[in-house]
């Protein structure tokens, strides 16, 4: 079919054509970017932490009336309380292993140190999140050692909360090792924090940091494990239970800790938390944003489809007589159907081309204002195809109605 008559007809409806095309262009621009945001959020939420999350729970508690100050007596006193708590938790039914820990992946509270390769280096090579725990920490978390050795009881030191002395040995994540020592083994290498040295004795495959920023970054996996029991007036324990026994163990933990030593506070809500809960909270904003974007996209696509149906229906009504004339002159039903389908394809095609420009423009603007990544071409291509398909789907009903116009209409007055 020649497109000439279609173009000629469109020229008589400039305003309507421009409005549909504009609507399609705006929809494409916004939906592409919104779906890209959704995709990014889903990717972020699905990132692995590197730990074996099932069957883990975390106890955060605060002692009452522990000795003030940071003298060796106070530290030793707190350390004995801490070791007693570890024992208490270990003896609970269903508990497989327990370790003290300063923070957990995704729980938004972290200790970050600048790491350098020489003692007098000015700018640090990377900022790493430090996880402090004992020789049971790695097995409790279930992180996977890929090189070197794990900590033994002999590696573990204990010190006061605000004592930042580095232990002689640390274990780093693969991402940290690759960043510090690209293309070589990190095992046995010395690194510095605040000009003080420590030696890398092991590398774990993956361990995510505590902070959940709005956008995924490589630095989210720059983590270092230090064999330190930290003795402050707060303590945190990570507990791994046997499958299916987590709920009972969480229930029993509170009672057992209070029975062993009542001079403490365990917050009713936040004191004992499963890791699933920590993960849920960490990504609440991302899920919310993804849902919001999805709802807006859905409404926008529906409105655009409905707009196409409405305007095409109007045109069909307006051209009843002309359609009748064409039918009377021998055009088949399918020709009329195709006419409206091709017309829509041309309008939508124009809209989509403008929409691509708008989509890229909007993305560039978002990149300049917020921490947005570049919109991959794939999203734009899929968006183009989707909107053309939406146009075709929307035009089908009015176009079919047009194809059913009887040739007798040609003889009737408009």
């Amino acid at each position: 079919m020649s497109t000439h008559p279609i173009l000629a007809a469109l020229r008589r409806h400039k305003a309507g054509v421009i409005l549909i095309a504009l609507q399609i262009a705006l929809t494409l621009a916004i939906v592409c970017n919104a779906i890209f945001i959704i995709g990014q959020r889903i990717d972020r939420v699905n990132r692995p932490t590197g730990i074996d999350e099932a069957n883990l729970f975390v106890v955060s508690q605060q002692w009452v009336g522990t000795p003030d100050g940071d003298g060796p007596d106070a530290v030793d006193k707190i350390d004995s309380l801490l070791r007693a708590d570890l024992d208490t938790l270990r003896r609970l039914p269903g508990v497989e292993s327990v370790a003290p820990v300063n923070s957990m992946p995704l729980n938004n509270s972290s200790m970050v140190n600048g790491i350098t390769l020489t003692p007098d280096q000015k700018d640090s090579t990377l900022s790493a999140t430090m996880f402090l725990g004992d020789d049971h920490l790695m097995s409790t978390l279930g992180v996977q050692l890929v090189a070197g050795r794990a900590f033994t009881a002999g590696d573990v030191i204990h010190q006061a909360f605000r004592n930042d002395t580095l232990p002689p040995s640390v274990i780093v994540s693969q991402a940290t090792a690759d960043k510090l020592f690209p293309n070589q083994s990190a095992i046995g290498k010395t690194i510095y924090s605040d000009s003080k040295p420590t030696t890398i004795i092991g590398v774990v495959k993956l361990l995510q940091s505590s902070m959940v920023e709005s956008f995924a970054k490589d630095s989210d996996y720059y983590t270092i494990i230090e064999p330190i029991r930290q003795d402050g007036d707060n303590s945190r324990y990570v507990v791994k239970t046997r499958p299916g026994q987590q709920a009972q163990a969480m229930e029993a933990a509170r009672a057992a800790l209070f029975a062993a030593n009542p001079q403490r506070v365990i917050d009713a809500e936040r004191g004992i938390r499963s890791f699933a809960d920590i993960r849920h909270r960490a990504y609440r904003a991302d899920r919310g944003m993804a849902i919001l974007m999805a709802v807006v996209c859905l409404i926008m696509l529906c409105v655009t489809a409905a707009g196409i149906v409405g305007l095409t229906s109007f045109w069909v009504g307006q051209r009843h007589r002309q359609i009748g004339v064409r039918r009377a002159l021998g055009a088949r039903k399918i020709d009329i159907l195709h006419y409206f389908q091709i017309e829509n394809l041309m309008i939508a095609g124009g809209g989509v081309v403008v929409g691509v420009v708008l989509a890229v423009g909007l993305n560039l603007w978002l990149m300049s204002q917020y921490e947005m990544a570049r919109l991959p071409l794939m999203y734009v291509l899929i968006g183009m195809v989707a909107l053309l398909a939406l146009g075709q789907a929307a035009v089908f009903v009015p176009a079919r109605r047009a194809s059913r116009v009887s040739p007798i209409e040609a003889t009737r007055a408009a």
């Binding site: 609507q23 929809t27 940071d70 010190q159 004592n163 917050d267 974007m293 409105v303 305007l311």
Partner: protein, 439 residues
């Protein structure tokens, strides 16, 4: 005349119920999506202390020097270290001022058999309360000399007062905080400013943690009550422990000063400059003063307190509204031009263009009003759903109120009338002679 147009409009809308419904729904959805996201945006970008925010200032001193500055050259430390905070309190150059840091002590009523509970609060100076217009249900803040005497005084929240003293007037009673006795001097009324402008450093802005205790800063330092907020260091403290933190260049103390007029602000800037120069000549810094003194709105902006998610979703929702309006323009155009012959007759009978404008804009306005009504319901649903999906600290702030509902209606009507302008313009240009002839 208006009632006649109203009747015409209703009749016309009834004639094509499908198209009308489509326009009403498009406007309803567009407006409600915008209003729902706007309710969140409004909640997080609001001024927490509007009557005074331009007189409250947050000073920052560049204590880490050129190697640690932000990309824009400002100091990277968004809080103060102990040395400077205490020196600035001692110099006392503002009308009112207070350094503060976050504490999380355990509290219990002395002699009670209940388990102690852990609460969150701040160590502050006496001027904190009058400066921030903190409301009291009972009593007041502590006197200035309590700061110097390191008095064991405490101001508690109404919530803690309810838990500890059954909501009675507890002024004068004793509360055990971290194993030591404190005398209650005041009980707060309802006070939950969001964002927490006096502590963006620890909270990032929004915080659902209740601030239950306020104790004198000097007392908290004297008893070694640890900083429960963030600590940010450019180098590890040379000495360990809380005392080591106080002697270090780590930042962990927030500071607010009240400066009532431009002259006071200028004088305070000069004071900070002089202070930094003195520190330089004392050998503590080896760089030129690089201070910052921002009022609360500017400081909140500087610290990016409004989450970028909120802004992006507001803009996407506004995009939806625009798409809905373009859609409405198209549909109104179709609808109005379908009635060309009717317009022709009216014009031929003497109706001026203005009458055509009035008639069709009335019709657009009615569509807008109906869209607004749908939008009201959907906005209510939207704000409720936002509470289910967004982070609690932000969702808790979004709410429906009269001004939001009014705005929803106004935006719906205004946007529908705007959308009706071009179709009406086209309708008013219909040539009566041509229409009459072609029929």
């Amino acid at each position: 005349m208006f009632s006649y147009y109203l009747e015409l409009a209703l009749r016309s809308l009834k004639r094509s119920p499908g198209l009308t419904l489509l326009m009403v729904l498009a406007i309803g959805f567009g407006v409600s999506a915008s209003m729902t996201t706007y309710s969140v945006f409004r909640a997080v970008s609001g001024d927490p202390i509007p009557w005074k925010s331009s007189q409250l200032f947050v000073p920052q001193i560049d204590i880490w020097g050129p190697t640690s500055r932000r990309a824009d050259g400002k100091p990277a430390n968004a809080a103060l270290d102990y040395t400077d905070a205490v020196a600035m309190m001692r110099d006392h150059r503002a009308k009112l001022q207070s350094a503060s840091y976050r504490v999380a002590p355990t509290v219990q009523v002395p002699g009670s058999r209940q388990h102690p509970i852990s609460v969150s609060g701040y160590a502050v100076y006496s001027e904190f309360f009058p400066m921030l217009d903190v409301p009291f249900a009972y009593g007041s803040g502590w006197p200035v000399d309590a700061d110097t005497n390191q008095a064991a005084a405490v101001v508690i929240s109404g919530k803690l007062n309810q838990e500890m003293f059954d909501g009675q007037n507890s002024v004068g009673k004793t509360l055990d905080i971290q194993g030591k006795d404190y005398q209650v001097v005041g009980v707060l009324g309802q006070w939950d400013p969001q964002p927490r402008f006096y502590d963006v450093f620890d909270t990032g802005g929004f915080d659902t943690t209740s601030n239950d205790v306020f104790i004198p800063f000097t007392r908290a330092i004297a008893v070694g009550m640890n900083n429960a907020g963030s600590t940010s260091c450019n180098a590890n403290p040379a000495e360990t422990g809380f005392v080591g933190l106080q002697r270090s260049a780590c930042v962990w103390i927030e500071y607010v000063a009240e400066l009532d007029d431009a002259a006071a602000v200028q004088a305070y800037r000069e004071y900070l400059n002089g202070y930094a120069l003195a520190q330089k000549s004392a050998g503590r810094f080896n760089w030129a003063p690089n201070n910052s003194l921002l009022d609360i709105p500017a400081f909140l902006d500087d610290q990016h307190v409004v989450p970028s998610d909120t802004k992006v979703s507001l803009m996407v929702a506004l995009g939806l509204l625009i798409v809905c309006l373009v859609n409405t323009v198209g549909l109104l155009l179709a609808k109005f031009l379908r009635r060309s012959s009717e317009i022709g007759v009216r014009r031929a009978l003497g109706a001026p263009q203005a009458a055509i404008y009035a008639q069709f804009l009335t019709e657009a306005g009615i569509v807008g009003l109906a869209g607004g009504a749908v939008g009201l319901v959907l906005t209510g649903v939207g704000v409720f759903c936002v509470g289910l999906v967004l982070p609690t600290d932000i969702a808790a702030l979004a709410h429906v109120n009269f001004s939001l509902l009014l705005l929803t209606l106004v935006i719906a009507v205004v946007s529908a009338v705007l959308a009706g302008l071009y179709p009406t313009f086209r309708a008013s240009r219909v040539q009566p002679a041509w229409q009459l002839k072609s029929n």
